[in-house]
Symmetry: D2
Subunit: 439 residues, 4 copies
Amino acid sequence: MEGGRVHKRGRAGMLALLRYLGRMVSEIIELRGHIIDSLILPKVLDEILMHGGNFKIKEIKIGQNRVNQSYACIEVTAPKHEALDDIVLRLRQHGAEVMEKADAQLAAAPADGVFPTDFYVTTNQQTFVRIGGKEIEVLPTIMDSGIVVDRKAGRASTAKFYEIRRGMEVVVGHQGIKVAPMQRATSRTDIFEFMANNISVERPKSAIIREIAREVQRARESGGKILVVAGSAVVQTGASEHLEKMIEWGYVDLLFGGNALAVHDVENVLFGTSLGVNLDQVALTSLGHANQMRAINTVRAAGGIACAVKKGVLKDGLMATCVRRGIDFVLAGSIRDQGPLPEVITDAVEAQKAMREKIGGVTIALMMSTMLHSMAVGSLLPAGVKTLWVDISPGAISKLTDRGTFQALGLVTDIEPFLRELTGCLESLRASEKSSTKS
Amino acid sequence: MEGGRVHKRGRAGMLALLRYLGRMVSEIIELRGHIIDSLILPKVLDEILMHGGNFKIKEIKIGQNRVNQSYACIEVTAPKHEALDDIVLRLRQHGAEVMEKADAQLAAAPADGVFPTDFYVTTNQQTFVRIGGKEIEVLPTIMDSGIVVDRKAGRASTAKFYEIRRGMEVVVGHQGIKVAPMQRATSRTDIFEFMANNISVERPKSAIIREIAREVQRARESGGKILVVAGSAVVQTGASEHLEKMIEWGYVDLLFGGNALAVHDVENVLFGTSLGVNLDQVALTSLGHANQMRAINTVRAAGGIACAVKKGVLKDGLMATCVRRGIDFVLAGSIRDQGPLPEVITDAVEAQKAMREKIGGVTIALMMSTMLHSMAVGSLLPAGVKTLWVDISPGAISKLTDRGTFQALGLVTDIEPFLRELTGCLESLRASEKSSTKS
Amino acid sequence: MEGGRVHKRGRAGMLALLRYLGRMVSEIIELRGHIIDSLILPKVLDEILMHGGNFKIKEIKIGQNRVNQSYACIEVTAPKHEALDDIVLRLRQHGAEVMEKADAQLAAAPADGVFPTDFYVTTNQQTFVRIGGKEIEVLPTIMDSGIVVDRKAGRASTAKFYEIRRGMEVVVGHQGIKVAPMQRATSRTDIFEFMANNISVERPKSAIIREIAREVQRARESGGKILVVAGSAVVQTGASEHLEKMIEWGYVDLLFGGNALAVHDVENVLFGTSLGVNLDQVALTSLGHANQMRAINTVRAAGGIACAVKKGVLKDGLMATCVRRGIDFVLAGSIRDQGPLPEVITDAVEAQKAMREKIGGVTIALMMSTMLHSMAVGSLLPAGVKTLWVDISPGAISKLTDRGTFQALGLVTDIEPFLRELTGCLESLRASEKSSTKS
Amino acid sequence: MEGGRVHKRGRAGMLALLRYLGRMVSEIIELRGHIIDSLILPKVLDEILMHGGNFKIKEIKIGQNRVNQSYACIEVTAPKHEALDDIVLRLRQHGAEVMEKADAQLAAAPADGVFPTDFYVTTNQQTFVRIGGKEIEVLPTIMDSGIVVDRKAGRASTAKFYEIRRGMEVVVGHQGIKVAPMQRATSRTDIFEFMANNISVERPKSAIIREIAREVQRARESGGKILVVAGSAVVQTGASEHLEKMIEWGYVDLLFGGNALAVHDVENVLFGTSLGVNLDQVALTSLGHANQMRAINTVRAAGGIACAVKKGVLKDGLMATCVRRGIDFVLAGSIRDQGPLPEVITDAVEAQKAMREKIGGVTIALMMSTMLHSMAVGSLLPAGVKTLWVDISPGAISKLTDRGTFQALGLVTDIEPFLRELTGCLESLRASEKSSTKS
């Protein structure tokens, strides 16, 4: 009668005996929503069996068609309390709720920057915590954090190590936690969930890029913030002119990058070296580096990128366009940086904070040709943000989309033609927008 | 009342009207088996909605636990006959059966090497065809073929273009076809379905290699044939000594490769060049090529690999080991071949035939460092054959596992250390086998 | 007094002794041309020392400036005859000539398809053979072949294994052989030798693509044949429309590819599937394959590509454009082919022959997204043919350019945008050509 | 009479006229050393012509054999002073000295952190600067820096932006600078210069790894410091046990890495998760992350890695081995870090400084599976340090070796088997060392 893996190993009788003897422990969980076609029910059954548990479906109602929600009530059994606990924690990530509801357990942080033992670690899914019988949303949604509860204010917030102060009340265990996992939309108009995560090299990309342009347009129309994360290859491949157009047209609200992005941009503007490199391999030697160093020196002498723009030292390029258009940017430092430029935040923790402060309201993120920044920013975004990764290396794309949600799309392609085509599509959308505004 | 995508677009009313007017067509299909945890039900609902159809679940019984099978009866609706037909064809690939059963439709091949229009194209899943009210299994299971029916003999067989003769009766449409898709095993002891398709570079591989060794051992014990498909990198990286051991120990029943595999092996044996290359970059120039050409010439002069072994010209190496141990091999030609060696089958169609003839009974296939042969052989194997792909390029591995079934595993790693470790594991298994035989 | 590696190992004394005892052997070689700036002299000295020899520069004249040629006369010493012989053979590949000139040695082929032992293996450099005191050019220039001499006709020709008939006179050893290695041009207008072999992902490519367009234009103007080798990714990524334009405009004289190239093209034209795939991942499953099979069947039923075009079955696409414009194409088979289409040459050796027959007069070769065909065709071309490799995988590009000569260029980029941009450049060149013709 | 590119364009006459009119400028430079076989002379002539100059060889003496040095005296001509200046600066990087020797020019830094305009940018080659008629070596040798001169102390030192204080005297222009480029050794025993930069996937690696082990052994015997730079893949692939052995045996003097390296190590030790992951793909989800967060929390609670080792919280693993053996390590922060661990230097500039302070005396650097740290550390090392890069991605390896010197070697392979084999070789060397010590 009992199922799954354990049964298969022919120990069904012993298990029945164990339960009879009170040695098997169980918990009843409930699932609601599009649990069939969002693959939630199968995943839940999988998790139970994969981690040594067993299940009995007590009740199931399947929505007759797509829009109807479904419901399942499942008894989960495991041989030990620890194992059951581990399984239920996993099931919570898929939206499972334990039937007998209890408040979250809290413990005080033992020291500044240190969580209490067994603190609950958040995911990038919308999360609620039950305090005093009430469910409170944990804000902001950010993964790999703890949850600090302010009982007086009735508030629960995610916190990173550096935000923890001794004595703060932090959620421990996973009792009283409810996760609301992203479910697939019932319509199929959205390229970010409609497509597989990973667009291979062999696929035609024009139609996909056209759809991405539409999503960017939709984000702007709906007032969502558009974040661009750019690696220095954007400048080196000559793609920055396209990105500048996107900024000019109002399609970029926020630009994240590293010192190298700005340095290559400034060098390109001041010395035209990237152009000079075009047909001149030799320029890759010492003299090319010298230009880079002089570009940095020029900006440092001017007091920074913004000052260099104001003083007329820096007239063109990606960074000047940001400054002129008032686009917020964060340049984060890394150990391979030269200089760095004055605006660069060299401390990694400070740079993370600066990025976190600015990403509120972002609904679409375009990550281009940078693994380091893409992973850093990716871990700061809630699961619902539409995220595009563009990189020419299939390895980088698989790494990035490995952690993917329904809302992520990886594109293996060259960044310069990608941005050229995206800009072309946006230009068409702008044109039809205008003509429709007129009429 | 109607669900899905169409409904969402607010055309429910029109659809209801259409059906009322007899313009909507529908068919009732059934699903049986582990349709929840093998993800079959969700995929079926997905296919219906993705292709413009709609569904109504008429009956559903979910197995309470893992071993119990489930059942679903679904009414599929679409606006046109063509669309419904297309959907039902897709659902058949997931094991769906149409309730009102009918015989398959047959048409005569119009010419040698040409199928009738609208011929049914097979997949690599076990397939049955209903003829005269009886279900006959289509043999052998091979994808991208047509189905030829011999009504008198009550036999249905897959056939490639070159096997078709004018007048043969071929299945057209998809009526009367039943596919039995691979379902995930209820136990979790099998690495080939337990793991994700794709093992990334960052993962520890020792445990996985140990499991693969056990699978190879199990295949041998159960009398399944073990197929090795090897690229020339196996020889070039110095890994052939490991493969030779596997052959000596009886772990290889069949070796598929190209001319280059054998040429590199012979050159290595006769001139030690791969070893000579070790610390000698210069040998990559003309003289290295000369050795290759002379190696080919020597084997041609001897009348082929087997003759060269018999005459004592070729004493060692991979090919000599195969000849001495009587291992069947197929060397398929390609346009970049030098020579080629006499045993090489230069005609692509003939080489495919030779491989097809030999793969009957193969239960495990190890594909190493060759994209071309891996794809060619992969398309000849039924879905149930456990298939391992090893390649150092993540791009190659994703390409190969893209078409993957539950029984496929891709490993991104260097072939020489992989084979060294695999051989080490097999040696341990042999040792414990012997000691257990003794006791 | 003696230098090099041997000396460094502290065996100078012994070597001096050996020579005194007449056990050291030596030969005097001469080098002529741009031996300094084509790096020939350094390479020659390197080869001598790397292979256990030693040298003494007896005379050297360096051209004072770029256009002046230089001359060096070098005594090469080695401890044994075999070693000296090996060294001198290597030096010949760099253009070295032995001072005391002798005729080439000939031996009769022992059997059909078998060279005599120690046959000279050609490179892709222009080669001369001294017969009866006269130097004869070996034609055609093709690597990895033997040299057959027809003394009566005073002709020397390269021959592959399959061209050898018993009794033919073949050059053995390397006496009497003179190689004329490609030297770098003194001007720097040529992108194929001016650039490094390998253009990395980070480099801006527009300027390079513009230069490639100019080279293609120059080839056409000078009457050189333009060869395109295309993988199926050209069609799959939607790039075939660009290639069709190039054909229409007269920029393609010869198209080499595989069965898959033509099959994808036909499927695209007949079923629009590649477009259908655009936003429809699901189409990658069985039904996508069915379209491919039906496309093949349609062409087979029509009697081949050319017939399908004539009958109006195939109206558009890459293959139809070739047929309509009378462009010569070779489709070579491989073991992963479906079908194949009637025009495909399934035998690898026959396909090589067909390609060899057509490549005479080719001055520029564009190899796109196919490793197998690129390597196969690359080994058929003389060193002087300008060769471009385009592939998105840096691994493929390094493999291809590894064997590179001064005339090869590898570009790591996406094929669709590359061809789009190249076609754009060619369009501009056409426009300016026309306007200059008018005025 | 005049050569090169300019001449080819048929402007020889005009050039002669220009010079006659005093509009051509020239400078005489000298080259000494192994300028032929270290390819210095060809590169110098190349640079001149590539940048619009012209040359006349006034005198040349070629060493008759390998050990003899050569000498060349060349007149370089260019149409303008700026062009000539640019060319001579480039030639200096190849060791060229201007015949009429002058002192270096100095200018005061205009502000803290800002160099004077036109400051000389260093390379990673040994560099001398002429001050008061005397040549002073610039120390330490570090690329992409300026040169600060302390005339009173007779000292010249490289300085980064952050080390510059207002008023410091900095070298501007390139007069008075002499670079001593690495020349290839005359012996061929050194794998780091003997091999091509880039060892491809197809090559056998055992012999190379054996040679690397010998170099590591030699470095230790000669008292050179051995630096290991490790990415977190070293731990994730299960390779840290090998690295721990190397540390135990005294083969590592210095370990550089990031927060992730230490976090993965600690997580592995405390929770065995990397092992738990082995056969358990699901552990990649939320719970795996939770272990990582708890590992960080544990070390933070203990007050850092060193404290955690002392308190017995951390008993094993890479970091504990470093602490117990007193091995110096630098953990540099990055924006994708979680935590971070207390020892991590989160400020990029501070981390650079910490690394620079420790690398004095390093003679061999092994960089494993980390692009970011490899590039950062690579830019801090003088050209003479033997540098090995190991990475499974050919793209990463080409990027790293692009900037390569004679002393760099890139190996495309899997890190775990690489380290296993390297450790095996070192074990053998240790064994033979001991036995030879005994006897």
